[in-house]
Structures are given as C-alpha cells and as structure tokens.
Amino acid sequence: METSHTPPKTLHYIGIFVALAVLTGIEIAASTAIAGSALRVVLLLGLAVSKATLVALYYMHLRYDSRMFAVIFLIPVVFFIGFVLALAFS
C-alpha cells in the first residue's frame, strides 16, 4: 500500500540533520549534567530512540513509503524490546 505523501526536499533533509545534531549535543550534556538516576536513563534512552525514529521516518522514508516496510522493521524491534525486558526482570 503506497501512501500519497510527497518525499521530503533537500532543505527538509538538512532540517532533520540539524535536529539529530542538536539532540546529540543534548544527550552528551545531559549525560554529564544529570547524576545516575532512573530519570537519566529514561531521558537518554528517549533521546536515542527519538533520533533513531527521525532517521527511520525521514532518511529511510518510512513516513512516506509502504507501511509493509515499517511492519517488517518493527516486528524484530518488538522482539528486541522483549529481550531487554526479559533480561531486566530475570
């Protein structure tokens, strides 16, 4: 099922790059500014997942491409989250 969205233009790609660079800077600053706590882990993982999502949606075009590709990609990601949760609570 192809969507009708128009793929992004060059300026859009550069905007995503700026967002990724800024988020990386925030990650590094937060890792040193916030002492070890659950909030720190949640914040840093949230920033990493946000960056990964931006790359997948806009650079890999999942936002504009067939939803089947998103499903193919997300199924093993769910398994991965399952691995980590199983280990965390084992």
Partner: protein, 179 residues
C-alpha cells in the same frame, strides 16, 4: 513494490535481531553490574565527534538519493563520495579509540567488558566497512550513468542499509558511552 526493497528490509530485520542479541549480552554483563565499565579510558567527546561524523554521512547519503531522484549525476557522485569519506573518517575514529583502549590494557580477551565491548563495536565497525565498500561499488557503477530518476532503487537500497547502520550506532552511543 520493488523486490530489491523488500529484500533489503527483510535483511535489515534480520540485522535488528543480530544486534539485539549482542546489545542484550552487553546490557546483561555491563549495565547489569556484573563487570565494571572502565569509564576513565572511554572518551565521550571523541566518540561524540564520531557519532556526529556518522550522522553527517547519513545526510550525505540521503542527498545522494535526492540527487538521483532529480536526475543530477554530478550530485549523486559527489554525495556518494562524501558518504564514503565520512564513513572512512568514522572507521578512523574507531580505530583510534580501539588503539587507545589497547594501550590502557583493555582488549577483547582481558576482561568480560572487553569481550562485550569489542564484539559489539567491532561488528558495527565491520558493517560500516561493508557499507563503504558497497557505496564504492555503486559510485563506480554510477560513472556510466546507469542510475537515473527512472532507476533510483539501487541508491535507495544502499541508503537504507547505511541509515540502518547509523541507527544502530545512535543506540550504541547511548547504551555504551552515555548510560
């Protein structure tokens, strides 16, 4: 829907599971507190710069794809070349980091941390190296003008692989160096 795209997405799905196993093992041993992370020997600024370099390479890759979509052969070759250059810079940074850790006595065989760390980052580096070779092959083929708005899929497919390798590093940077 192009079969080459379905194929590369299925391959990426298998790679997610591959890295999921390695990351889970790292989390179990290192973040689980079974071994101590040698924080003194790990340079976040250096690896942060390397992360930035890989993000720049992803921008170059997507600009290569945008170039082929609008029929710019010159743009395609330039941005493929720059993607490769930034990929090689990343590998150079990783080699420098590995050499620094070796000098500190941290190797794949000296500790559980070393085994988990070098297995995870080493396999990622190998994926970057394979990506650089793939881009080089595509760049050489592009010299004959075979890629065009009517035939952009080979560029999109190598781009999907490259961006996936970038996503893996984005997660590794946080899990290994920042947490």
């Amino acid at each position: 829907m192009d079969n080459r795209k379905i194929g590369v997405w299925l391959f990426i799905a298998s790679e997610v599971i591959f890295f999921a196993g390695l990351i889970s093992a790292y989390l179990l041993y290192v973040q689980g507190g079974r071994v101590e992370k040698p924080v003194h020997a790990m340079s976040v600024p250096l690896v942060g710069l390397n992360t930035f370099i890989l993000i720049v390479s992803s921008l170059m890759m997507v600009l290569a794809f945008a170039s082929v979509q609008r029929g710019s052969q010159r743009g395609l070759r330039l941005f493929l070349f720059l993607t490769m250059v930034f990929g090689l810079l990343f590998l150079g940074g990783q080699a420098y980091e590995f050499a620094t850790l070796f000098r500190e006595g941290i190797t794949p065989t000296t500790s559980l941390f070393g085994t988990a760390f070098f297995t995870l980052t080493g396999f990622h580096g190998a994926h970057v190296a394979v990506g650089v070779l793939w881009i080089l092959a595509v760049l050489i083929k592009s010299l004959s003008g075979r890629y065009s708005p009517a035939n952009p899929i080979p560029i999109e497919v190598v781009g999907l692989y490259w961006h996936f390798v970038d996503i893996v590093w984005i997660m590794l940077f946080t899990i290994i160096y920042l947490l």
